[in-house]
């Protein structure tokens, strides 16, 4: 991602962001609310097109590519507010990920020849396998909207993995989780990275999660990258402390004075 800028009308949501993600790397993207984390995400996944700058993935430019094409190239994502297919079963939620890489389409589905059946069986066993890895196998016939919250988050990650990505983007996977679930999630992300040997870009609010697993952290504030480095480097960066704590102090002061909010 090189010098990417996106403007909505007069608002510059993300400004000249450089971001490089290596193979097998686990990178955290953090920043206060409204810093542009999700917007950066949406530029990579093709939901928004950057106003300026370019994004390359493994040598391919992502300019002008639709979200589904980008998924095809090997970038999968989850959403900040879970977006499963609520009326489909857990099994089917993962199964649809396989239509991307399968060879059979409309006409094979109608003719139902031997190759089609083999293919469907292959998909079925792969789906069951990945569900079992993530301990969702026993829910496979449950409609996804009836799953417990933590399991819905997990299913969304599994579904993204089923598209066989090389880069996995997780948008606030710990949001709304209790401490136990967060610990579990941290373990899970590390496990995914090792088991599937893919790169992970993690957008997250929860510092414990980010500091615990990320090898490199990029900090955004008001759409600008203010710091980048290892967890300990970032933790001690004065700009980062300002962005997080300074903001809070400002608000507190404003509230105490009960005057019009600063800026």
């Amino acid at each position: 991602m090189q010098r990417c800028t996106i403007r909505f009308g007069g608002l510059t949501a993300v400004s000249e962001l450089d971001l490089h993600i290596g193979g097998d790397e686990l990178i955290g993207l953090i920043g206060p609310n409204g810093a542009g984390k999700t917007t950066a995400f949406n530029m990579i996944t093709g939901v928004y097109q950057p106003t300026e700058g370019e994004i390359h993935f493994g040598g391919t430019s992502l300019a002008g590519q639709a979200p589904q094409e980008i998924t095809g190239l090997g970038i999968a994502r989850t959403f900040q507010n879970i977006r499963l297919f609520p009326s489909l079963s857990v099994f089917d939620n993962v199964r649809v990920a396989f239509q991307l890489r399968q060879k059979t389409g409309l006409f094979q589905s109608l003719l139902r020849g031997a190759a089609f059946k083999r293919n469907e069986q292959q998909i079925e066993s792969e789906v069951l396998e990945i569900l079992d890895i993530f301990k969702l196998g026993r829910f496979r016939h449950t409609m996804s909207k009836n799953l417990p919250y933590g399991d819905q988050r997990r299913l969304e990650i599994v579904r993204a993995l089923a598209t066989k990505p090389r880069l996995l983007l997780l948008d606030e996977p710990a949001a709304g989780m209790n401490p136990t679930e967060k610990t579990e999630l941290t373990r899970l992300i590390g496990f995914i990275k090792d088991k599937f040997r893919i790169s992970v870009l993690l957008v997250e609010h929860d510092m414990k999660v980010v500091m615990g697993i990320c090898e490199r952290i990029v900090v955004l504030d008001h759409g600008i990258k203010i710091a980048e480095g290892s967890p300990s480097e970032v933790r001690n960066d004065i700009k980062v402390v300002e962005a997080y704590l300074g903001d809070k102090h400002l608000k507190k002061a404003a509230a105490d004075a009960d005057s019009s909010p600063a800026d």
Binding site: A66, T71, F79, S87, L88, R95, Q99, L106, F139, N146
Partner: protein, 312 residues
Amino acid sequence: MQLGAKRWLFGAVLVALGVSALSGHFNRYYLGVAIDVGISIILAASLNLINGYTGQFSLGHAGFMAVGGFTAAKLTLLLAPIVPEAAHPALFAGSILVGGTVAALAGLAVGLPSLRLRGDYLAIVTLGFGEIIRVIFQTSETFGAATGLTGIPKFTTLFWTWGVAALTVYVVASLVNSTYGRGFLCVHDDEVAAAAMGISPTRYKVTAFVTGAFFAGMAGALYAHHKQVLKPDGFDFMKSIDIVVMVILGGMGNTVGVILAAVLLTVLPELLRGLADYRMILYSLLIIGLMLTRPQGLFTLRRRVDRSRTAN
């Protein structure tokens, strides 16, 4: 799952053959109703792919039916005198296919630009399309203008109708019950998430639209060679509503329910002949009552994911 679709086809073909074998014993009136029922099933099952499974609200199904009907009827009217009697079944099969294909092309022409729209907006566009089609046939001298086409050979039999109905049900059922076809349901549930899974929402929507239009066109062809008279008036907005009602009554995205609803809503007006003038009032009341009491559809006994009970 996969086992379902083939069983469906065999079941439907058996019913079709059984009914055809018995058709000699029917009087003409019952025979006519049985053909009407078959045509309704084709229309409702194909619209169910668009409105039910893919979640797009189309009000243009009568328009596609008209395209198929007029095309096929014109073709047989032109060719029937030339083609020897023995080849008439082949001619009929050909004109059904041509009718379906032209309707599918119309579906593509309407679908490509308009399927970016959602919900109400798509409904309005498809509604407008249906009306445009009707007006085109009403003014076109080639298609007999307001009087329509008359003297169409009576080619439609129970066999043809129920054969095509069986094919429609098979195609819809086997599409939806494949990994590829689950994409229709994904587009219905969440387009953004579908795109993130590598499913192109537009592509699936257009596919559903074109497939649905193809079968609506075939239904139109069967209808034309059944009634032998084709008037543009017969394909107005109310006809589209009739089909939508079948889909809603049966339960969106529930093929069995939609078939039952198609049967019910075709037979019921026949039983209520005396009340024909009040039919639309009854329809409306039915829909209002249904939406209040059973929004999931009259015949939806269990959800689409029918084994969900195993894991509570």
